[in-house]
């Protein structure tokens, strides 16, 4: 008989163990919340007072500082969900399932805010709340995909099985989103092209860039904060569920 060496888990799987996650993530919640609050305070000050009006749109241009960060997050959150989906399918990691489940409603809300602020912005500048333009339409389709994924999560009784099934749909969607985006662009286009990241450098004045990037930073921190809190809640909820199930079992057998 030989003694089989127990494989030492690496740092990542130690951190990603649900119980360990609950332990270390608790120290991130308040610092993240404070950083987010500071980020929003600074960003909003720049957005409202320290950046110029647009010569055509006037104060309306300030919608930019909400609209662009939310649009960025609407795509970042899907990226996070796709990465989590890989984690569920390849490593069958329960924390990856939890991450996907926690992120889906956040992504849906960020996408909805993008569409809403876009509509508010479009009315005075383009003269319409809604236009079937390429980027707007693909953002709307993204919202529909988020809602479909949430519906799929909710229609499973067994959340353990749901994780891997939803992961498959998330990855199929991730492959599809570029196809949808380019097909819709091909179909119809009105939205303005890239303004910040162009080959010739940004086409915005510096003060607007500071405001925009501060808001981008603040919103991304905000997402990280909400994601961690939602993941903690989901883990605790699952734990509570399994505890109540065990209690019921003991009650029956006793």
């Amino acid at each position: 008989m030989s003694v089989t060496a127990v494989k030492q888990p690496n740092w990542f799987s130690r951190l990603a163990h649900p119980g360990q996650f609950l332990n270390w993530s608790r120290y991130f919640v308040w610092p993240l919340a404070i950083l987010t609050a500071i980020g929003f305070a600074v960003g909003l000050w720049f957005a409202f007072f320290a950046s110029p009006e647009d010569y055509q749109m006037g104060d309306m241009v300030r919608v930019l500082y909400i609209h662009v960060p939310n649009a960025w997050l609407s795509m970042l959150v899907y990226g996070v969900m796709a990465a989590a989906a890989l984690g569920s399918l390849v490593w069958r990691h329960p924390l990856a399932d939890v991450a996907n489940k926690a992120a889906a409603p956040l992504g849906a809300v960020f996408t909805a805010i993008t569409l809403f602020t876009g509509a508010l912005w479009g009315r005075p500048t383009w003269g319409t709340f809604w236009e079937w333009d390429g980027r707007m339409t693909s953002e709307l389709v993204l919202l529909l995909i988020y809602l479909g994924i949430i519906a799929l999560w909710r229609s499973f009784d067994d959340q353990g099985k749901a994780g891997r099934i939803v992961a498959i749909v998330t990855l199929v969607g991730a492959i599809n989103i570029p196809i949808i985006h380019y097909s819709v662009e091909w179909w119809n286009t009105l939205h303005q092209g890239a303004t910040v990241f162009t080959a010739t450098g940004p086409k915005l004045p510096g003060s607007m860039l500071i405001a925009l990037f501060t808001m981008l930073f603040a919103f991304t921190l905000f997402f990280a904060l909400l994601q961690i809190v939602r993941m903690r809640t989901e883990i605790l909820r699952r734990r509570a569920e399994s505890m109540s199930r065990q209690a019921a079992l003991r009650g029956v057998s006793a």
Binding site: L152, I165, I168, S183, V184, W186
Partner: protein
Amino acid sequence: MSAFSALIGRELKLAFRAGGEALVLVLFFIMVGVIVPFAIGPDRPMLSRLSPGIVWIAAFLSTLLGLDRLFRADDEDGSLTLLRHSALPLEAIVFGKLIAHWLVTAVPLLLATPILALLLSMSVEQWWRTALALLIGTPALTAFGAIGAAVTVGLRRGGLVAPVLILPLSIPVMIFGVGMLDPMTGGGATLFLLALSLVVTAFSPFAAALALRTAGE
């Protein structure tokens, strides 16, 4: 290969002998075309202008309606478990079921398009272009649908969730399918639609088989 063709044969036999569901789908397809003039008025030039879009919407809805019969019955009576243990890989089985499903649900729709063309006063050119677009595009619809059906196979409420999941994903099929009728962009759209159909048909058996395995665990 013989097991593969036997599987397709089984699917076709089941479809033709058990109640003629395919005909019901065709009936639904035509009915969607029939109710549209009641909704928008019997103006023939306008109907003719809208007709390719109407036919595509009808085809979309019929495809979604037929999704449930792809894996549901086999899952309920246990033949899906049996198929999972056969010598053929599950991916090949899904591909075979996909081919059979396309033959049973999409080809009758193609054959029914002349009736809709007549009712919606399409020109002959509009009709054959739409039929060609459907011929190229329906494999993609069926393949997307197979993913939706496989993902929801174990769910009691799956019948409603699958269309909601699949519809946004199949928007490019609709865009290029209707785009094929535009004389300016028709050529590009045809190539895009062909590419999309081929890619999705090649990819879908793997995703669907993965979902079926997960659901069966």
